[in-house]
């Protein structure tokens, strides 16, 4: 299977099953589209007709172009057949029962009252609760016990607002560091925060211990303050921005993301990206809101068209800023074509419910943070382990080839079936498909791949100029 598209003046052809990406001229672009539909002579006749009057397309060129396409096909870089479908289930099962990542819900409470919060203001449809150090330590032990031979273990401090339980966060990190020495494991910690409680102590700690921090900021003040308000209804932008700036400045190049949400109120989210850039932030992640379709903040069909155009403009802005020596990162455009994930990962997709789980303040296990509070999905607890093998089995069997709609999608080995929680909330099944999310994902991949093509093109042009 191939996917062809034109963007920013580039003709791009993806060979889905090998992962190859080709940048082609107009003749090759049109010839590739016909290649599998008719024999050689038919293709050449159609192209002769199509390019009649174009002096640059001679008989020789037609034959040469056809031969280039055929050579790529023979080399397994074009029209590569899909050989993954039959083995997809087995590939995912290779992970066995290993658990290597936990999302620790250290605080099911929040000091902000954001109406669009998927966690219902941090309570996840339940009572307010704080994780004790004892539960947290047991969760870390549970993770080590179930991590098999995995070296890198990921732990995310999440909420609600995790800094409302900062002492426990510090205690758990210290505990994990002692366990690292005993076990040879390596913990990577992440903390997601709304910024309200950031102070010098938090900054020092995060910059020392967190391999990544996720800082919630929606961009423009009026956009941010529409949703991200305290319990008195006051916006939080002016209070958190200076704190985020101090934290990022002190971070010394370590990973962070400014993580914003865009909704029906701001499908023109590029303005929010620009605002973040103006504030000095360069590592950015803006996400479409996750909510029920009837929610007033939900993106409409009209919004999706605006958002897609915004993604294109964002890609152009990034390329422009790269040229000017002022680059910035957008999480979804971080596509390392040469060093990305292997086919096992691409088929298995998200590890939710198998190698990744969320732990509630009371120690219950769920497939991921977005399933917490959905009783049907409770997997067990950190003392007794998994007592709901049916649900874990559902997640273990969930791979990109388990979703009928994905089988014909060109982006299946880029998204790997997408988010199980989004699928569940949109369709009632984790093997369903959240079509609006797919549409945006495909657009993001087209943009990210176009950017890779533009960089390669600029590199080649620079080389030619040098020689």
């Amino acid at each position: 299977m191939i996917h062809q598209y034109q963007l920013n003046g580039y003709n791009i052809v993806l060979d889905v099953c090998s992962g190859a990406v080709h940048l082609v001229d107009e003749l090759a672009y049109e010839m590739i589209a016909l290649y599998e539909t008719m024999p050689r002579e038919g293709v050449l006749t159609a192209m002769r007709e199509r390019f009649r009057g174009d002096a640059s397309v001679s008989e020789e060129e037609l034959a040469l172009c056809y031969d280039e396409i055929r050579a790529l096909e023979e080399d397994g870089q074009l029209f590569t057949p899909d050989t993954w479908a039959d083995s997809a289930g087995t590939l995912k099962e290779r992970g066995g029962d290993v658990i290597k990542a936990l999302c620790l819900h250290v605080a099911h409470t929040c000091n902000l009252n954001c109406s669009y919060c998927f966690a219902s203001q941090g309570r996840y449809h339940g009572e307010r609760a704080i994780m004790s150090a004892e539960v947290g330590r047991r969760a870390l032990d549970f993770l080590i016990e179930h991590s098999g031979t995995r070296h890198n273990l990921e732990v995310d401090f999440f909420g609600g607002e995790p800094l409302m339980n900062f002492d426990v966060v510090k205690e758990l990190v210290a505990y994990a560091r002692t366990r690292e020495k005993e076990t040879g494991k390596h913990f990577r910690f992440t903390l997601t925060t709304n910024g309200m409680l950031i102070d010098d102590d938090v900054i020092d700690f995060c910059n020392r211990e967190m391999s990544n921090v996720v800082l919630s900021l929606d961009g423009r003040k009026e956009v941010h303050d529409r949703y991200r308000v305290d319990y008195a209804g006051n916006g939080s932008w002016e209070r958190i921005v200076p704190k985020f700036q101090r934290l990022v400045q002190a971070r010394g190049g370590k990973n962070y993301y400014m993580r914003g949400t865009f909704t029906h109120r701001n499908p023109d989210f590029l303005q929010d990206i620009r605002q973040m850039l103006d504030l000095g932030f360069t590592e950015l992640s803006m996400e479409p809101v996750v909510c029920a379709p009837e929610d007033p903040s939900a993106l409409t069909a009209e919004d999706l068209e605006i958002v897609k155009r915004q993604y294109e403009e964002l890609a152009l802005l990034m390329l422009e800023r790269e040229k000017e020596g002022r680059p910035f990162t957008f999480y979804h455009y971080m596509l390392d074509l040469a060093g990305g994930p292997c086919i096992y990962k691409r088929i298995s997709g998200c590890g939710s419910g198998t190698e990744y789980m969320a732990v509630t303040p009371g120690g219950d296990l769920y497939p991921c943070h977005q399933f917490v509070g959905e009783e049907r999905f409770r997997l067990g607890d950190i003392w007794h382990g998994i007592d709901n093998p049916e649900v874990r089995g559902e997640f273990a069997a969930c791979n990109v080839y388990a979703k009928p709609e994905c089988r014909d999608c060109w982006a299946r080995l880029y998204c790997s079936g997408g988010c199980a929680a989004n699928a569940y909330h949109a369709t009632g099944s984790i093997t369903g498909v959240y079509e609006a999310g797919c549409e945006l994902f495909r657009k993001r991949m087209e943009c990210a791949i176009m950017m890779a093509a533009a960089r390669a093109d600029a590199g080649a042009a620079a080389q030619t100029a040098e020689s």
Binding site: C17, G19, L23, V24, L72, R150, G340, I343
Partner: protein
């Protein structure tokens, strides 16, 4: 063969990656970044040996 109409970008060959991949050390979910959608292609392979 030298090509005139098609430039191929440097990409990881997925068929090849079936032989050396699957170590399981890479990031497992969206957890440490966006939190609400999981794209896999933008994650990094942790296995330098397998990437070769």
């Amino acid at each position: 063969m030298e090509r005139k109409h098609i430039v191929t970008l440097k990409t990881r060959n997925l068929c090849e990656s079936a032989r050396k991949g699957g170590c399981g050390e890479c990031q497992t979910s969206c957890q440490s970044a966006c939190k609400t959608s999981c794209g896999i292609a933008n994650q990094q392979c942790e296995n330098a040996e397998a990437r070769k």
